[in-house]
Symmetry: C2
Subunit: 238 residues, 2 copies
């Protein structure tokens, strides 16, 4: 009776949700830069919608922490601040640790082999010093572990926080030394996962996140210093 148990419900979507899901990547992938004003009118024209659903979408994105609403002045893409990084990464660390623990309990063998393939692929990218591919596969691995935990609330919470941290090209910062360390950590990750040692995987993932935090902070401090003179305008979050 698969035909009955399958979800056949016709997917009906509201305009504002559609907008949220289209604008979010614009922010995460830095089409809209941190600190920029969100051009409400321009986006309305671009997506061919009126201001009502657009403003609803901006309110949701504000709740997610991706934009900041100033009453009577509009919406701005939030900046990634040092303080925010120092707050969010420990939370992400605790959540990734949990995802590792849960994954080891709930993951299927096929999923493990899939992650193993991603891991090997990432190692190829490392050998070629192909930073773009490395980062892409890296993200896929972490996401696969998260999904293997089979906990929707965990997935949602992690993704919301990750989105706030991810908007920027941290890749540019990865030093040769940090890169080598990260690779070593990933060797441990795949080993623990294949051994289904949840406790261990959790601890490694948390340490991995701590190291990433340092890497991001280094990049952030450098970027801020570089642009010190630029963003002196009033009303900005400098």
């Amino acid at each position: 009776m698969d035909a009955m148990t399958d979800t056949n419900a016709i997917e009906r979507r509201s305009l504002h949700l559609e907008l949220v899901e289209r604008i979010r990547p614009l922010i995460v992938e830095s089409q809209l830069n941190p600190g920029d004003k969100v051009p409400e009118k321009v986006l309305c024209e671009r997506f061919g919608v009126s201001r009502t659903p657009m403003r609803e979408a901006l309110k949701v994105l504000a709740a997610e922490g991706l934009v900041r609403l100033e009453p009577n002045r509009g919406a701005w893409v939030t900046l990634v601040t040092v303080e925010e990084v120092e707050e969010v990464f420990p939370v992400l660390g605790a959540l990734e640790a949990l995802s590792g623990e849960l994954a080891c309990t709930n993951i299927a063998d096929a999923e493990i082999s899939h992650i193993r393939r991603l891991h090997d692929q990432m190692m190829d990218s490392y050998r070629d010093r192909n930073l773009v591919d490395y980062f892409k596969t890296n993200q896929e691995i972490h996401r696969a572990i998260l999904l293997a935990a089979k906990n929707q609330s965990l997935t949602n919470t992690c993704q919301a926080l990750s989105a706030r941290m991810q908007r920027a090209r941290y890749a540019a910062n990865l030093s040769e030394e940090r890169w080598a360390d990260a690779v070593a950590e990933h060797e441990q990750i795949i080993r623990s996962l294949e051994a289904r040692n949840g406790r261990e995987l959790g601890q490694i993932l948390r340490q991995h996140m701590k190291n990433k935090q340092e890497s991001v902070l280094k990049w952030l401090r450098k970027t801020n210093t570089d642009q010190e003179s630029e963003c002196a305008g009033p009303g900005q979050q400098c």
Copy 2:
């Protein structure tokens, strides 16, 4: 130069945020019951606003998981399901553990004495078997530890998830046995906190949350069985 460094900015609020913060407690404190339709028109009249800011508020509450929007059919207060409890509590456990660890590092002595007073007060309520006061003080203690962690992102994330779990009177379910166990756990909590043993406090808080999950699940299963015949309407999340 305190006058300059202080934040004197006049707090300006938007209507939709005001509504979010007024409707949220209606849901968390079960003025609006899980499964109920959110009466958009009634709420608009009650708060004296038009539908636009009300609908913006509902979209934010939907993003928080407190209401569910069905396209063309309106908003419904989300139900607390067994599946959701089994997902959210482990996440809350990991986050409370983190809050314990961070609190032990960042808490001021004055805050510890404050929590000690709350703890003693809660023990009085326990001796009197005053469940209402016990629960109130209990929540204050957990909140105080969370705030002592001095991590806004952690606070926000925890509160959002707690809100989803808290809407209902779980208190009614607390068995004499579980109550005694919970009290014993709280003795450990205050002891670890005063010793500033973060690792230990984290572990206890996580176990405490695991036990609370079981308690809530017991209540939930009982409630669901009791009301089995009632909520058979279509479109409900039964």
